[in-house]
């Protein structure tokens, strides 16, 4: 049962976005009795609506609003108007994510201290004690039902995993498993066990994979304290003469503009839209955008060092059968500068269907070099590389005044140049990934370039000192006390791990902080 709040109700917390950050924060606050209006730009889809067809699903779920790209990253060439592969729907990209749920390693919270000065990198330590995160990580793992934590069994390994595991062991890797996944290995929390159906990226039709769309969102609504408005696209955040935010203007499903008043505003629109919204909310008091006295809004955009390795064997693999991200090698996730780069990376199995393999294996490729690879699609195994990339001030989201979105607002431009550390790490990972497959008889290997970004981080980063970043250790903006950032854009650095578990843990922690500050009368 949705709780209808008046547009004029200025006692509500308004949350913009309903994914891993916003969706979880909305429920956590609602459970504490806080009134919440969550505004979601996309529509509401549930497992029965998900489509297990790659392109059709992409059309249903992907964020396809106008965007532009620049920089030397290959995505700007291959997918110039599609810098990201994220979701516009209630539940956000938790519908699309593969489910890998890894904690940051201790050293990753303090990248500047542990990595030292890296030329061209804008490294900083998180203003958070790793020990303080332990309990929040446990709460997040329990919420998501993460396998191999809390006594939950691991998932069984599919064919793609069997090849990956055998190759990993053959080259001496020790830490390979089906990983910690927010996919039920047994029925739990009202959701069934994984049926090894594939199509994890298209929304889990069983609901075996955790998504806020069918867990936190309806649970929050059931309290009567949460109202979710879908197809409500926020255009700007408003403030009063004292500088505090007072509400948000959004376009509703009919395109009409509405003003929702607010006591607190939490921005959780992913690392492109969140800084864009702050920039698009510029006013005479805040001419550079909200919460931007540091000049860091939109900067330090990170997208993880990524790439893929696919390999062809002389026998069938049928990698599409089963969990999309079915296993992980963690031997390379350590910080070990002797490899020629700081930070580390994970190797995780990945499978694409034939339509997406044709689009992503070698974008722009054609001729027999390309088609003979696809001829062996049935005999193909695949893995994804995900590693820590360096924050750079010049990698940033800016407003492109030459391109307007459907509401007439400047589109975001996403600029990204690979840092030499990113390139060194990717080359190392390609070599290791290819070695894994060659060790078990691959006849051909493909070091495949990065896809449009699913891990978008860092554009409203946390900092101890207001000069260095946009938000404090609780995601509260340094400049405006009742304005928070609640998504991956608050990441100070990216770590090597898939970010969702950390986004969820930070959202649970932020909910505690906001509720406590409200009780103290500070917000």
């Amino acid at each position: 049962m949705a709780a209808p709040f008046e547009l004029s109700d200025d006692s509500v917390v308004v949350i913009i976005g309903t994914g891993a950050g916003g969706g979880v924060l909305a429920n956590e606050l609602a459970q504490k009795g806080v009134s919440v209006v969550a505004l979601e730009a996309g529509g509401r889809y549930l497992p029965e609506d998900y489509i297990n067809d790659e392109w059709e699903s992409f059309g249903q779920l992907a964020w396809l609003d106008a965007r532009t790209t620049s920089g030397d990253w290959r995505v700007a060439n291959d997918f110039s108007s599609l810098p990201t592969w994220i979701v516009k729907a209630v539940g956000g990209t938790t519908t699309h994510w593969a489910g890998a749920s890894l904690r940051f390693q201790d050293h990753e919270w303090k990248a500047k201290t542990n990595y030292g000065d890296v030329q061209g990198a804008n490294l900083l330590d998180w203003p958070i004690d790793p020990r303080e995160m332990d309990d929040y990580y446990t709460k997040a793992e329990d919420k998501l039902g993460v396998t191999r934590t809390g006594g939950r069994e691991g998932l069984p390994g599919c064919n793609n995993y069997k090849v990956f595991e055998a190759g990993a062991k053959a080259i001496g890797y020790k830490n390979v498993s089906t990983g910690r996944m927010a996919i039920n290995s047994a029925e739990g929390d009202g959701r069934p066990a994984c049926q090894q159906t594939g199509f994890c990226f298209q929304g889990c039709k069983w609901g075996a994979k955790w998504s806020s769309a069918y867990t936190d969102i309806p649970r929050g609504e059931a309290t009567g304290n949460l109202e979710v408005r879908s197809q409500a696209h926020v255009l700007r955040i408003e403030h009063d003469d004292s500088g505090k935010v007072t509400g948000v203007v959004y376009a509703d499903a009919d395109g009409n503009q509405q003003l929702q008043k607010a006591r607190i505003v939490c921005v959780a629109g992913n690392s492109i839209e969140s800084p864009r919204l702050l920039l698009n909310s510029a006013s005479s008091m805040y001419p550079d955008g909200l919460a931007n006295s540091s000049g860091q809004v939109g900067r330090n955009y990170m997208r993880h060092m990524t790439g893929s390795v696919y390999a062809v064997f002389d026998k069938p693999v049928k990698m599409w059968r089963g969990t999309t991200m079915a296993g992980i090698i963690q031997d390379e996730s350590r910080h070990d500068p002797s490899r020629g780069f700081v930070g580390g990376y994970e190797l995780e199995t990945l499978a694409l269907g034939l339509p997406f393999m044709a689009a992503f294996l070698d974008p722009g490729g054609w001729g027999r070099e390309f088609t003979t690879a696809l001829d062996s699609y049935e005999n193909m195994a695949g893995m994804w590389i995900v590693g820590e990339d360096m924050p750079q001030e010049t990698n940033r989201i800016t407003l492109n005044h030459d391109v307007k979105d459907q509401y007439g607002l400047p589109a975001p431009n996403v600029h990204f140049d690979d840092h030499p550390n990113d390139i060194a790490m990717r080359n190392h990972a390609y070599k290791q990934g290819m070695a894994v497959y060659e060790a078990v008889g691959a006849t051909r290997v493909f070091p495949t370039p990065p896809y449009p970004s699913t891990h978008n981080l860092g554009t409203n980063r946390m900092s101890e000192n207001p000069r260095d970043g946009v938000v404090n250790g609780y995601g509260q903006t340094h400049d405006i006390a009742n304005l928070f950032v609640s998504d991956g854009s608050q990441f100070t650095t990216g770590g090597a791990e898939n970010p969702t578990l950390t986004i969820v843990a930070l959202a649970i922690r932020q909910a505690d902080h906001i509720a406590a500050e409200m009780n103290r009368g500070n917000l």
Partner: protein, 172 residues
């Protein structure tokens, strides 16, 4: 839609037609496979242009186990009033390039490598990129093509692979 074998005999097909290359026959308002396995009506493009476009599609993404009719289906959408000029001009450019190398036209060069050379020389042109990028979905997103690559598509309707071989390889 592509017509299937039953609707057209080889004899009917060949009466009043010409052939282009060895793969295609063309007549008034249609392109067909030389085997008469398929035929396609064309309304806005010259039949010979469509036949050459189908050959170009195969030369860009050659899969020897994928029949011409799937390539024909992949480019059939260009047979519109809006796109006819763009396609006629582009294909005329292909033929001119082939003639410059001493061939009768693009479709009749014999070896694939001669056609690929022509395509390599124009791979940055808007025409080539339009055709190539369109084929990524036009060819590989045809559900009828998927089984030719072993791809099984969705499995939810059959209960996933939990009891149907998600871990069935035994060679590793």
């Amino acid at each position: 839609m592509l017509k299937q074998k039953a609707t057209l005999t080889r004899r009917q097909l060949l009466s009043g037609s010409a052939s282009i290359g060895t793969a295609f026959v063309i007549g008034i308002g249609y392109v067909a496979g030389s085997s008469a396995a398929w035929a396609m009506e064309v309304t806005h493009l010259k039949p010979q242009t469509m036949a050459t476009l189908i050959q170009m599609a195969r030369d860009i993404y050659p899969h020897d186990h994928v029949a011409d009719e799937f390539y024909a289906a992949a480019v059939k959408g260009y047979d519109t009033e809006e796109q006819a000029d763009m396609i006629e001009t582009g294909i005329a450019g292909l033929d001119a390039a082939a003639q410059g190398k001493g061939f009768a036209n693009y479709a009749e060069t014999g070896w694939e490598r001669h056609r690929v050379d022509i395509l390599r020389n124009m791979e940055n042109s808007p025409f080539f990129q339009t055709i190539r990028s369109g084929l990524v979905t036009g060819l590989y997103n045809q559900k009828a093509v998927w089984p030719l690559f072993g791809y099984e598509g969705e499995s939810y309707s059959q209960g996933g692979y939990i009891d149907r071989g998600f871990d069935d390889i035994n060679w590793i």
